[in-house]
């Protein structure tokens, strides 16, 4: 589904990603873990076309996307739930969802999607008329995911969905992410919370200072000394 091959990305003169290669098969749930500043967010923003790689290629279902603009990449079926949620705070929950599905022309299809997406997030359906800026942190995270799902993506990029949320909310989100994946959605989950990420994903990549230092089945990544020391504190 997604092939990232020897990606090099810089902000001005500062290089952030070094020869990063990551691949996701269709229907997989793969995680990238690493400390703050490891380049995880940069990686996702490059996949979405917000940042341009210096060298390297990104291929989505056989099609090169590294030279496309963000709205073209969304059009090909990539949903991105960014780290800061980046909602439209003065718009209602419903308007945020409507914006997520702005490409949908037919009213019927829009309603079906809305129903399906709200099915995952009952808390949001109680708050459709509320302004997004007035939601709690957990609800905002749910809305950010729901908004991305309204575009009916094939691949979902999730950037630290657990950041700043209470453990009980994190558990709910984890359930939803698993449900979505079981329903066939390919998920690339970036997390600082290694416990959560390794619990959800079958395969994992570990990033440090812009380099992939470890990768494989979550079981073997969990066993590696590096991860035990640095991320799990064992």
């Amino acid at each position: 589904m997604l092939e990232i091959d020897s990606l090099n990305v810089s902000y001005g003169r500062v290089q952030v990603l070094f020869d990063v290669s990551i691949s996701l098969g269709e229907g997989e749930l793969v995680t990238v873990i690493g400390a703050n500043g490891a380049g995880k967010t940069t990686l996702l923003l490059t996949v979405s076309g917000v940042l341009r790689p210096q060298t390297g290629t990104i291929t989505l279902a056989g099609e090169r996307i590294d030279n496309l603009r963000p709205h073209e990449i969304v059009g090909l079926g990539v949903g991105h739930v960014p780290q800061g949620k980046e909602l439209f705070p003065a718009m209602t929950v419903l308007e945020n969802l409507e914006m997520g599905a702005h490409r949908v022309k037919a009213d019927k299809e829009y309603r079906e999607r809305l129903e399906r997406v709200l099915g995952y997030f009952p808390r949001l359906s109680e708050r459709v008329r509320q302004r997004a800026g007035t939601l709690s942190g957990g609800e905002q995270q749910m809305l950010a995911i729901a908004r991305a799902l309204m575009a009916a993506p094939r691949l979902l990029l999730l950037d630290e969905p657990s950041a700043g949320l209470a453990p009980i909310i994190v558990d709910q989100l984890a359930e939803i992410i698993l449900d979505l994946n079981r329903a066939g959605l390919t998920v690339l989950l970036v997390e600082q919370n290694a416990f959560l990420a390794l619990e959800l994903a079958r395969r994992a990549y570990v990033m440090e200072s812009g380099i992939v230092v470890e990768s494989g089945e979550t079981g073997s990544v969990l066993e590696s000394d590096l991860v035990r020391r640095a991320y799990l504190g064992l």
């Binding site: 409507e98 914006m99 702005h102």
Partner: protein
């Protein structure tokens, strides 16, 4: 108190206020969506008025045909305003964009002085009958001005709140990254925003000639007044700009009549300074 004078000034204030409203709405739209302070907005209005003079007196077009042509041309020019003076500088500091639009405004102003000279030019109006309503003298051209201003601003409001394009525009203004990540073509949104804003600016220009002469010097004072309105209302708040534009137009006229003609211009800025001191985000602004 002579109530006829009060009502006459209310009418005069309504005429000025309507121009403030349509002018400030465009200025506020560009700031609200793009976080760009368009220093050339006043000169776009001026150009609207001057081009109308040329197409009516030079090409012999009637007022309405000429006005429609000028507004459409100026709206299309808004695309160039974005691509030439705004978009190339967006990644840099906000100051750079301000300076590039200042540069555009100087070019338009001085270019217009070369082309048209500094003499005010009268434009033939379609009709200008004076009607006495009660004790108040109103002109039919003035009624047209008020009607068109409010229709245009209402249209803008409905566009922003009820159409998909309008909602995408508001979304882009509220969160640029969020808009890009859900696949909104924000470049197209910025193009459209400046097209609409330039069209509104030019519309203000072709309406101004209904109540005063066209002159290359009309843009600068209007820009300052426009900023007073936008700052008092809260930067980027289009609906607030409408209320404040109307309020300032009317109270300015009353101030000029009953307190001081000399300090009439100063009135707007005193209001602006007081609002900035007490409520820096503006009356309707959010922090």
């Amino acid at each position: 108190m002579n109530w006829d004078i009060v009502f006459q000034q209310l009418w005069n204030g309504l005429l000025n206020g309507s121009i403030y409203v349509i002018f400030a709405a465009g200025l506020s739209l560009v700031f609200g969506v793009m976080r760009v302070i368009n220093m050339a907005h006043g000169e776009l209005t001026m150009l609207g008025a001057m081009l109308l003079f040329t197409v009516t007196s030079g090409l012999g077009l009637g007022y309405f045909t000429g006005a429609a042509l000028v507004v459409i041309l100026m709206a299309l020019a808004g695309f160039l305003v974005n691509r030439v003076t705004v978009r190339p500088f967006l990644g840099h500091s906000e100051l750079v964009v301000i300076l590039s639009t200042v540069a555009l405004s100087f070019m338009l102003l001085n270019g217009s002085l070369v082309v048209w000279g500094s003499e005010p030019k009268g434009v033939d109006e379609p009709f200008n009958e004076i009607v006495k309503v009660g004790g108040v003298y109103v002109t039919t051209a003035g009624m047209l001005l008020v009607g068109v201003c409010f229709t245009a601003v209402l249209g803008l409001y409905l566009m922003l709140t009820h159409t998909k394009l309008g909602k995408k525009t508001r979304a882009t203004g509220q969160n640029l990254l969020g808009a890009r990540l859900i696949g909104i073509n924000t470049t197209a949104v910025y193009d459209t925003t400046l097209i609409v804003a330039s069209g509104l600016a030019a519309l203000a220009g072709v309406l101004i000639v209904l109540v005063s002469a066209a002159s290359p010097n009309l843009g600068q004072p209007l820009l300052i007044t426009g900023f007073a309105v936008v700052i008092v209302a809260g930067m980027g708040n289009v609906a607030g700009a409408v209320a404040v534009g109307l309020f300032l137009g009317v109270t300015e006229a009353l101030f000029g009549q009953f307190i001081s003609t000399y300090y009439r211009q100063g009135y707007l800025y005193v209001v602006m300074i007081i609002v900035l001191l007490l409520r820096p985000q503006g009356l309707f602004g959010r922090r």
